[in-house]
Symmetry: C2
Subunit: 363 residues, 2 copies
């Protein structure tokens, strides 16, 4: 089976100079992959020429005349730039010409465009952003939402857990991944009102619910999945990125303080390299926009080619494991079983109306 | 001027074996400090004997017959154990026999007991927990709330900012510390409803308001103070602790992998030691319970003597700089100036009624 991936080549801080080399490199490692490169044809072709890949048999270039910048507000992305590389790339998924779309463009625009083009799956009120954060157990903890929904209702957290469960089950091959609810452990108050109610929904659900977890459990790997609202998830993620960066600069500072420490660094290079590869944020690049009728992966805007390739890998893994079908099934099974979902099938005010024409996707 | 400090000697995972040595060590470094050691007299005296400090001229032992454990629910701490070391230690502050109380006991109990005994300052609806988190600029960023208030109203965040401003101004000697409002930067949504409204209050206030900051700004040190609700603050703190721990174990693992890496570690010891001292969580031990008519410092429950001594230092610094007076003044000046505070002088449902008899404290 061929896995076709649509790349928004213009997105991110570096555009084609990062996205095109990453795509070509990915093809060299995956014989069953095909790339649909979307963007300004001249810019893409110039990169392909450099890489001697102009006639690559598994590359198709699809033109788009506009580019959504990192600063473009959502309204511009949605209503003004209708022929943007981002929108055309997402449309490849909608029309079955790609199994996933990967973009390093701005998150707000990508979520809005994806939601508009693809629509949400039935039973899902709010799409969420999920990623895998490295933990002490090995690969990582899947955390969501990371910023799509600042204010959540309890049933949204249940839906996030269900989406993540479906994804982790097929991508990480875990039959019944455990789910933790991010909470605070102080005795003063155990969680806010939304989290308390979400805990009850999760406990009553079919999910493998572990119970409450705290911030440090994300890195301990206490559960496979951690759910929280987008505000809390975003703060946890950004704080951790900030701390990792600070520790990284301190290590660098200490090892470049004098000729002696520089010598030490040279001798200790194999150890320092192993360390930095274990902590390498590039390996964890790529967040999934879950809950849509198609796969969209968001890469860090500042990603380099190696890092962007990891985001492509995430799209490839999700597409080849049929994540969307699995999520759709998880919600189809539960429709009617859970009162909160069944009682509000059309969703809250932010829900798109389901579109029966876009429920099928090629993989 | 003598700074008297009341120590809850029975609190924390290790009780007197940590708290008493820390107190005696602190006295040896600070000639103007005096200790009121509160707890089971036999246990305290046994420790003092070991340390040859039974007749220390700057030590007073105050007996208490009960101990609040780390698992005791708030109700037990408040209503059952009325002669607990924690409560008696806090009462030393209330009655002017100490300028601050330091406890490693459980946070929920400590907040409840402190609030009950000391009452809140006029104009403050909710006490908050604040601490200093190391940042790239040097000393650290003061962050609050860290878990006392999971659900906050916008005016609470304004009050937190005002309390922290008063503390940082006198303790860190910064005339106009900058205040950041913890928010998320994604375009999808800029913050939840409470944070949006808090931003408007902060902008209209007399504070040196920088604007929104994100999780990574805590470690960058973008602002002197970062305010957030207790749920978000607790998750950010615990996530960071979890990540720091994971990185620490990875460094250890990599340097103990083989005889070669162990040799490297031995040679690199001066560098590794400097690194670990810069990242040393002990140096940042001690969170302040702000908004009460007296100073209470909460130490990590698992603190060792060196770490507990840092918490004592925090109480000492706060007491000797007159933090409570400064906070009280900040709110007295603003009473009437800010509609949200002035409009609700008695506070929300959780507010203790002001107690005119407890507004004076010895320093």
């Amino acid at each position: 089976m061929t896995i076709k991936l649509a790349i928004d080549c213009m997105g991110g801080d570096h555009g084609v100079s990062v996205t095109v080399p990453a795509a070509i490199s990915f093809l060299s490692r995956h014989d069953d992959a095909e790339m649909v490169l979307v963007g300004l044809p001249d810019a893409i072709e110039a990169q392909l020429r450099k890489l001697h890949a102009l006639d690559h048999p598994r590359v198709t270039v699809v033109g788009a005349t506009e580019v959504i910048t990192m600063d473009d507000p959502v309204e511009v992305a949605l209503r003004k730039k209708k022929d943007s590389s981002m929108r055309v790339a997402v449309t490849q998924v909608k029309e079955g010409r790609a199994g996933a779309c990967i973009s390093a463009g701005n998150t707000g625009a990508l979520m809005a465009v994806s939601r508009y083009v693809l629509k949400t799956l039935e039973g899902i009120e709010r799409p969420a952003i999920a990623t895998t954060i490295p933990n002490e157990q090995g690969w990582g903890t899947t955390v969501l939402d990371l910023g799509a929904n600042a204010d959540c209702e309890p049933q949204h957290l249940l839906q996030f857990a269900r989406m993540a469960e479906a994804m982790v089950a097929v991508v990480d091959h875990k039959a019944h991944p455990t789910v933790g609810l991010l909470n605070i452990g102080e005795e003063v108050i155990k969680g806010n009102e939304v989290v308390k109610a979400a805990g009850e929904l999760l406990r009553a659900s079919e999910l493998n619910f572990y119970g409450n977890v705290e911030g440090n459990d994300i890195f301990k790997g206490t559960t496979d999945i951690v759910v929280c609202d987008g505000f809390v998830g975003n703060v946890a993620l950004k704080s951790s990125e900030g701390l990792a960066k600070m520790i990284g600069s301190m290590i660098k500072e200490e090892f470049t303080r004098s000729w002696f420490t520089k010598l030490l660094a040279a001798i200790a290079m194999p150890v320092l390299k192993r360390l930095s590869s274990r902590l390498d944020p590039a390996r964890h690049n790529g967040a999934s926009l879950l809950g849509l009728r198609g796969l969209v992966i968001k890469s860090h805007g500042s990603a380099d080619a190696r890092s962007f390739e990891w985001a492509i890998k995430r799209g490839y893994d999700a597409a080849s494991n049929g994540v969307i079908d699995r999520i759709a099934k998880a919600f189809a099974n539960k429709a009617g079983a859970t009162s909160t979902t069944a009682g509000n099938p059309a969703g809250g005010p932010e829900t798109d109306s389901p579109d029966p024409h876009s429920s099928k996707h090629a993989a």
